[in-house]
Symmetry: C2
Subunit: 297 residues, 2 copies
């Protein structure tokens, strides 16, 4: 059952003339004739009485007409709704991000972008690092702000906004607290207080330890950075985290010492390669441009 047939039927019910309907619907008279006959066959009724100078609708035709109109209207309404939805979607950026995003300069970029483009809506959602890439690849969001370690995924493209490095967080009284630099093996006997598996920091830390041929003793694993800091202050262990995370807790009670590692680490916007909504492209270009401006300063 093709809606085109219903369209023809409805138009024909108005014109009662095959040639006119053919013109209205940009086809030929013969085609109209065939389609109407096909529709009649499909419905099993005769829709028009053909008398040789005019045609006239049958009782069955009168039954069909309101339904045909209704169905066509519904289909149009559907088309419109979809168009509206797509238009709105084209002006909406759904971004998933690590919870700490507001502490980075990327946040400034986002707020500036939104001020400059008030027509664009941004839906930000915090999500555990662990899930960000899944959400991105499954299409739940079209862009993420995440921390990467040794990034290597040819399906994705990214804009690095900041680089970060590993630091050790030590109690003030720790023997190595005054060091200028540390390697992780120097800490192999300390209890580790680290961010858990639901962050994407866990795996790189374990990897670092493994590279240094030891398995850390994990005294805390969780998501609360402030809690870790308190535990360090209280001599319950040491922590490995990112410098930019640690510096938010600048305190007299513990030391932050850079760690020598070979693991690249960046904060970046990431999206899949390929087609994107116009708002997304607008945002992407804005970030690329204004990041250079920022860095030039």
């Amino acid at each position: 059952m093709d809606l085109q047939k219903l369209k023809i039927f409805v138009d024909l019910s108005k014109t009662l003339n095959y040639t006119d309907t053919a013109e209205n619907l940009f086809t030929t008279q013969g085609n109209i004739s065939k389609q109407v006959m096909a529709l009649e066959k499909e419905l099993g009724v005769s829709l028009f009485k053909r008398a040789h100078r005019k045609i006239e609708m049958t009782q069955q035709g009168e039954i069909v007409l309101p339904y045909a109109k209704k169905i066509l209207l519904d289909y149009n309404e559907l088309s419109n709704k979809l168009n509206d939805f797509q238009a709105a979607k084209n002006l909406t950026i759904e971004m998933h991000t690590i919870p700490t995003m507001p502490s980075y300069q990327s946040f400034t970029l986002i707020t500036q972008f939104l001020q400059k483009h008030p027509e664009v809506h941004m839906q930000l959602r915090e999500e555990e690092s662990y899930n960000l890439f899944t959400s991105l690849k499954s299409g739940k969001c079209e862009i993420i702000f995440a921390r990467t370690f040794d990034f290597d995924d040819s399906d994705l493209e990214r804009i690095i906004t900041e680089e970060d490095k590993f630091v050790a967080v030590l109690p003030k009284k720790h023997p190595l607290a005054k060091s200028e630099k540390l390697t992780i093996s120097q800490l192999k006997n300390d209890p580790f207080l680290i961010l858990g598996k639901s962050t994407n920091l866990y795996d790189p830390v374990i990897k670092l330890c493994r590279q240094a041929h030891f398995t850390p003793r994990i005294a805390y694993e969780g998501t609360r950075v402030d809690l870790i800091m308190q535990m360090v202050q209280n001599n319950m262990g040491i922590s490995i985290m990112m410098q930019k995370t640690a510096q938010n807790f600048d305190s007299e009670e513990f030391s932050i010492v850079p760690l020598t590692t070979n693991i690249a680490n960046e904060l970046c916007f990431i999206r899949v390669k390929g087609e994107h909504s116009s708002a997304n492209n607008l945002f992407w270009k804005y970030i690329q441009t204004n990041l250079k401006v920022l860095q030039a300063k």
Copy 2:
């Protein structure tokens, strides 16, 4: 836009599995895949997110779903309505008839038929003879009861229920009132009181006169037989009509004399050759059978 695509979409929204939907709709998995893609292309949106072990509907799919269901429901409702209509129609006989039908034995046959088949509805409508054949041929009714003269129409079939003949109706005091038989030329000087053009009696009478090489003087032309009879009684002229019409007015005040003619004349049921509703066929067969029974008596 083919409704089949919507059907597939709706079913797929339930199963979320191409193979299952293919089975439900008696087709193949590959076909489902193609149709869904075609639908997506046609609507310009993606309806399902394909993840490699399961598929999931998109937001756009959620928008489409209620419309698809509604359209399919409407189409089903339409089908049902048409079926009901056809079924009712199949049990209804629409018969147009000359006004005098109740005076013939055909009327008895009809009432007997309706008693025997109470499920059949008969819609009788009186119509002027002149229009009966037009109504029949244009499909306004599927069967007529009419009077025929020299019937010859290969598109129609008929059952003759009674034969009739022309009679002259004369005032008692008319010089020819006592004749056993008359030819029409014997009446050429009398004023004619005849049934008008809207009956199909007018033309045959004129034809009879023309065959006898005279043009009658028409003193009355109309549809009221009773009026004609009164006029005859009052010596205002003579009339030519059918015997069975005349004998309903059996009176002492005028004579009915058979007329010698070569014009065949019958009362009959007539329908177009070809397909008919079951009720119509039932009726036709009933008349054929029971007419023989009647005639055998």
